[in-house]
Symmetry: C2
């Protein structure tokens, strides 16, 4: 399939919007649930905690204390010295995950009965809080797909490696957690294969529409982080395409229509246009500094290797622990690895509000040590209360008090979502979208600004602008056409 924009190809925006409207695909959601429950039951796994010194294949290097795999592949835990003028703490050291390779996170898609379907995979990861979760068709580290651990071939990978066989609807480099990873990026892909291409559904895979995925995103810990970052790259507007929608009165059920309207608003309809937003971001990047230096893990202040784990002296932020894994449907049958166990109770929240009748989101410019370019745009509130000193409530980030208010604030989204179970141990955050009543004036610190969804997605197209927490939350917002749902042809 050619990548050229011939008139006969439906635009990605239209394909995504049509699929988002379909709450029933070739298989119903209840068929999915049966299949998934069955899968969960039949796929045994055991995760046993082990001391880091007892992990097969892993060791602390003699000279620098870094935690590495004996092959030098996968990832390593190293030290980082961080200096910044952002926030309350201007110099610290911390362990960081160094995984410089670029992996692939990709959904294989096909129009089935006229509607784009996504081939999802039920996938077990050692850190998952609840067994398998829904993952993209392909979720492969570079080591994975060059088969560093001598396992099985990754199914469907060929469609992502050979760009002539499929049409790339999304193909971007996007960041991962900047507080945990050093400049880590993955290739986020959605590829569409021709309708007449026979695609065999392997065991553990299932076709879902985007509408069905949105429904599952309402549930706790079901759609994994890798799925969410890829889905966040979808757009519902673009050059030469705007869906028809009508204005409706404001009520809870109309939120999906407000989402669509914000996606499809023109740049000039926003409180700020892209010129002003780009200027704000440039100003932020020249206002805030970040100098990071990789240092030996054994020189990192305030952190210790103790009781088989790496931990902070006040038990804050995160610990690096070791696990032994036995899962029967993986490329290999069992292994040992380190995992990051973060402080529990994280909150990731976007405030939104209508300005000029268009929904805007309150975006934060936020420095994190592992960021590729010092700062990325983040949700309004990104907070783990347990990491803050109870004696210094003034150190809590702006808008935290709003989380406790109920007057004049509507909850539009509220679910627990998991971070990547291949690196994080039982790490779930509360993802929220709260809508403020229009007209309520919110004073903004200089590193916050209002954006429409269209503007946010415009930045997301060009890599490394929004952090993974923001993208993960955006992926949960379903645009809703206020007409009746389309059906399969």
């Amino acid at each position: 399939m050619s990548s050229s924009a011939s008139g006969s190809l439906t635009t990605p925006e239209r394909l995504f919007l049509e699929s988002a409207q379909c709450l029933e695909g070739v298989e119903s959601l209840s068929a999915f649930r049966d299949w998934f429950a069955d899968y969960r039951q039949n796929h045994r796994f055991d995760v046993i905690r082990r001391g880091l010194e007892q992990l097969d294949g892993w060791h602390f290097q003699k000279d620098n204390g870094n935690l590495v795999h004996h092959t030098g592949r996968f990832f390593s835990i190293e030290g980082l010295d961080v200096r910044t003028n952002f926030g309350h703490v201007h110099h610290w050291m911390q362990p960081i995950i160094n995984q410089p390779e670029i992996g692939i996170l990709g959904f294989l898609c096909q129009r089935i009965k006229g509607v784009l379907h996504f081939l999802v995979q039920a996938k077990m990861e050692p850190g998952n809080v609840n067994g398998p979760q829904i993952s993209p068709t392909v979720q492969a580290t570079h080591s994975n797909y060059t088969q560093a651990h001598g396992g099985k071939q990754v199914p469907y990978l060929c469609w992502f490696l050979d760009r002539t066989r499929a049409r790339c609807l999304v193909d971007q480099l996007q960041s991962e957690q900047g507080a945990r990873f050093l400049a880590k990026r993955n290739r986020n892909m959605i590829v569409q294969v021709c309708e007449n291409e026979p695609i065999k559904v392997e065991e553990g895979f299932f076709w879902l529409t985007l509408g069905q995925l949105f429904a599952l995103l309402q549930e706790d810990n079901l759609v994994n982080m890798d799925s969410r970052t890829v889905l966040s790259c979808t757009r519902f507007t673009g050059d030469g395409f705007t869906a028809k929608y009508s204005r409706r009165t404001t009520d809870a059920t109309a939120f999906g229509a407000d989402i669509l309207r914000s996606f499809q608003s023109r740049d000039r309809e926003g409180l700020h246009d892209m010129y002003a937003l780009t200027s704000w971001l440039t100003h932020m990047k020249t206002t805030y500094s970040l100098q990071v230096q990789r240092v030996p893990l054994n020189t990192v202040h305030d952190w210790f290797v103790e009781d088989g784990m790496i931990r902070h002296q006040k038990n804050r932020f995160f610990r690096v622990i070791g696990v032994e894994v036995a899962i029967d449907n993986r490329e290999v049958s069992g292994w040992h690895q380190p995992l990051i166990e973060s402080t529990k109770g994280g909150i990731i929240c976007f405030l939104c509000q209508k300005h000029h009748d268009i929904l805007h989101f309150l975006v934060q410019a936020r420095v994190e040590p592992g960021n590729f370019d010092r700062l990325e745009m983040a949700p309004t509130i990104q907070l783990t209360p347990g990491n803050y000193d109870a004696d210094h409530p003034e150190h809590l980030p702006p808008f935290t008090a709003l989380l406790l208010e109920s007057e004049g604030i509507q909850t539009r989204y509220d679910a627990l979502q998991s971070e990547e179970g291949g690196r994080f141990y039982q790490d779930q955050n509360r993802y929220q979208v709260l809508e403020l009543d229009p007209g309520r004036d919110l004073p903004l610190p200089p590193n916050y600004t209002w954006m429409t969804l269209r503007q946010m997605k415009e930045f997301i197209r060009f890599n490394n602008f929004f952090n993974i927490e923001a993208r993960g939350l955006l992926s949960c917002l379903r645009p809703e056409l206020p007409t009746c749902s389309p059906r399969l042809t």
Copy 2:
């Protein structure tokens, strides 16, 4: 002035296009020439070569051999170890300029008699080949505007530092030469002040329209590199604005109309759409690797400090030399500094060709050691023949042979342009745009693709996608409305 996109503000695209059509501003081009000739005559400067060991304020550090200023500011010459799978040489070491601070390059603009005028500055730099050149209103390193060398206040700088006083039409971080600088970026700005704001034209400054600047860009070495990079960020199309133009027959004078048409083409009219282009670029970034490591200058192989300069053993690539400078209109009256003297005879060329009747440019994905994100998009040909082995003509980059053809190729732009005289000694390259006859099929290596001007400018909005050589050449292409030129009101 508010940054909000109120309906009453003319869009930047329209302001730029209108100004580009005006070949006469409040002052005529001949008045400019008289003023500039006068300025050149009255501003004495002397640049005397000196050995690097004899530069006041500069020294080679004892332990690592790096060339640094005694304050630790300005910039330093360090060593770099480079590994890549791009090109013919996969491992080398070289000296590199390390200047981590972000400077400001900015034009102050104002609508005068209805048309946007740019306040240009006649500016002398020690490396300039021909005396003063036209520079942006403000051209300030971070040391400059925090006054590290205790000089005078930079005129007009306040308009760029206080974002509430002017409207930012352009405000982006853009890269500089990736073969010479380590991840160097400057803030490229165009700010518009209100029409009723009295702006005093200081000595050495002059108002020009964009049309007049385009006329001066046809001449050799007149508009400096910093001006060109800022001007390359202008756009002539955008959300909600498309200028009316009619199609004309193909001839040399119609090239400006073809430029405008390419700027204003819709994404879907291109040979590839932005989805396909982004995917291609992502593929390139995962195909090519770049590992750079800062190393002591005295460990760099094949380079020597000899005869008061740093040079390559085969006298290739560049030399670092020392100069003593005496200029009477600078912030300080005289100083010593190192400069980079590159091999002469560089060629920077874009091939363009009509596809579906729309002008496309042949863009190269190119790895350079100092790039912020391994590769940036570059002109079709970026070549200094003297750096290549005459015994290995097969190492010359693709399309080089086309430079010698005349059949079926029209020269659309051809001028010598200077690189930044504050860092580079008498460094000029031949900038060319060549148009291939439509229909001629050009086989492309995988790291080349065709793009419309609109698509190129779309990437340029989001920082660090196009290198400075490409941007400098794009800035020379004037879009032309095929109607008569607008006049001042």
